[in-house]
Symmetry: C2
Subunit: 361 residues, 2 copies
């Protein structure tokens, strides 16, 4: 009370580091997109290696006719993280994103948030990192060519992720909308990737060791039919990620060895919603830890049935938090009430009025 | 692409209104603490009146030895809201708040957040509004004197809430730590409330029509014993709010008509955790809607077993959102990636580098 002016300045405890969209782009450019994805993949692999230390909850959804908002929390017992994410397929009609998100990392020992960040861009990057990481264990050795079927907002990130982690050099792009493929080729110009725009899915998969499907239709679709998929390829199935939304013909699934993030979630959201509830799948964390094999033969068809899991977001939040001191690209939000005397919240409120805050209205 | 500089300015869609701790205090002072609590009580009552339109989920907790972090989501089918809140009893030892929080309101039709706000102060205010609203239906007519047992951070807000909604004029304050009562009396000086500091709980409840218990100990305690509580009073039990934390002797519960927010939650967290799982309780929303009576006789002991429920936070977020255009006390966060072409997130990222964002590192 002796120095009221000073006491009204929020202390360091009041502030939470905040990464805006603009900050996120600056952080990506500070180290480069490919290095950023490599960093994310490292953190994701680290967290998959300690899989059993995580509290794995299902997503908590709120539904409307137009779409869904989900909270995706997880914790390793020391740190808590969650992502807020929406999915609204009709959003692009009025200029909004189909999927946006933000996330929070917090210290579970005192409950205080330690990072608040946009996660639309970060999710796009972590999704690519997750796919490329899985392919490191599953794709044929010396894969150089990837077919990319569906050339929307996630496709650029997938291409760069596979370049960064596997050394892919050739992209064979197909989209039902040719303008989407032109956009992808333009965005990747100068990246070191050769992009060939293809006239059909059959054309796109010609000579590809990896087939990435990343279409956006919210319905059961058949992007790939059984006769299109030859022996020995790796399929990176990214687009099917909610009930009623799949991309692959069931017969392909029956010929493939299927790898998933978290079976209880993938059985509801992934391609394998088409299979019986006890169909065999392999959990990726067991592959990364060496408990189970990844690719075992040249002719095997491997399939990563990607849906996106909370631990990947947790790893992405950790990576970003560790990057920030190096880049400085964040601001500080006055988010936490921090009275001089923690038992005197009301006293902070009335002193703020004495200091003239009331006059501002 | 014709005007790159312009296209890099985030559009209106990118921004989410943000209420910092400082903004929150300014918003409170802009209309006054009592009017703010009255406004909150109105919105809470409105939302309790449409109780059945809400998706009522249990809290989603993450536990550590030191405390808990909880997400509290709810939705009315059109709007989604959630609160992040922690509870860490040992936090005051290093100058942190025991409970802090923040919250988000979002449009469920497109998934976009419409408000991001601190909720430490807002929760303190809505807890007081919730108690005072319940007392409007349950306390004896023309109540003027309230005993307040436990004079910590929530007690000031309770006193002002009961003044604003019920016309309480006399506060009889008791705390195991006399300094806490002195602090309360000092904070309420000039509020129009007469505060009498009492030497014992027995002394405090002398002549009180309402007894508020709001102690902070995280264990089963007996702030009130059966012989202390006379006929006709209303007990506002705020402090017992988690498993293993109660304030009242079981015999008081057995003599009282008990009113609760949401029975499945209160049976775990409230005073009634001491009773059988099928002990009779009345849901407040049914009292507010006139389906069930509140106080029915002069001698009846009524008891509001407060634990705090997500719909109260939802109502508080709605109230704040509606207040902001009047006060202007908020800023705008660049939280949502908003590319010119919603399908071209990566294009936004690379164009931001062309504009020199990369050089900033």
């Amino acid at each position: 009370m002796t120095d009221k002016t000073t006491s009204l300045q929020p202390s360091a405890l009041a502030y939470v580091p905040f990464v805006s969209v603009d900050d996120m782009m600056k952080n990506v450019h500070a180290i480069g997109v490919e290095a950023f994805i490599r960093g994310l993949a490292e953190y994701i692999e680290q967290d998959f290696l300690r899989w059993e230390s995580f509290d794995k909850k299902p997503r908590i959804p709120a539904h409307a006719p137009q779409g869904v908002i989900e909270l995706m929390p997880t914790s390793d017992g020391k740190t808590f993280g969650f992502k807020y994410v929406n999915g609204h397929p009709g959003n692009t009609q009025d200029g909004r994103q189909t999927v946006t998100g933000f996330g929070v990392l917090a210290d579970l020992s005192n409950g205080y948030p330690v990072l608040f960040t946009e996660m639309t861009i970060l999710t796009a990057l972590r999704t690519a990192a997750t796919s490329a990481l899985a392919a490191k264990y599953l794709a044929p050795e010396r894969s150089r060519t990837m077919a990319v079927i569906g050339n929307g907002a996630q496709s650029d990130f997938q291409c760069l992720g596979f370049k960064a982690l596997l050394g892919i050099t050739e992209i064979r792009a197909y989209d039902i909308d040719p303008a989407a493929s032109v956009r992808l080729a333009r965005n990747l110009a100068g990246s070191g990737l050769n992009v060939t725009i293809c006239k059909s899915p059959e054309d796109a998969i010609e000579g590809a060791q990896i087939i990435t499907t990343v279409t956006a239709d919210k319905r059961c679709n058949t992007i790939l039919t059984d006769n299109m998929v030859g022996a020995g390829v790796h399929i990176n199935a990214v687009g099917g990620d909610c009930p009623g939304k799949t991309e692959l013909h069931k017969d392909i699934l029956l010929r493939s060895d299927i790898f998933v993030e978290f079976p209880p979630q993938t059985r509801i959201e992934g391609e394998i919603q088409q299979l019986d509830a006890d169909s065999p799948v392999t959990e990726l964390w067991q592959v990364y830890s060496g408990q189970l094999p990844g690719r075992t033969s040249r002719d095997q068809i491997t399939l990563f049935d990607s849906v996106g899991f909370a631990i990947e977001d947790f790893a992405a939040l950790r990576f970003l938090k560790d990057l920030l001191p190096r880049t400085g690209h964040y601001s500080k939000l006055d988010l936490l009430a921090d009275p001089d005397d923690p038992r005197d919240l009301f006293g902070m409120l009335i002193r703020s009025k004495e200091q003239g805050n009331g006059a501002a209205a």
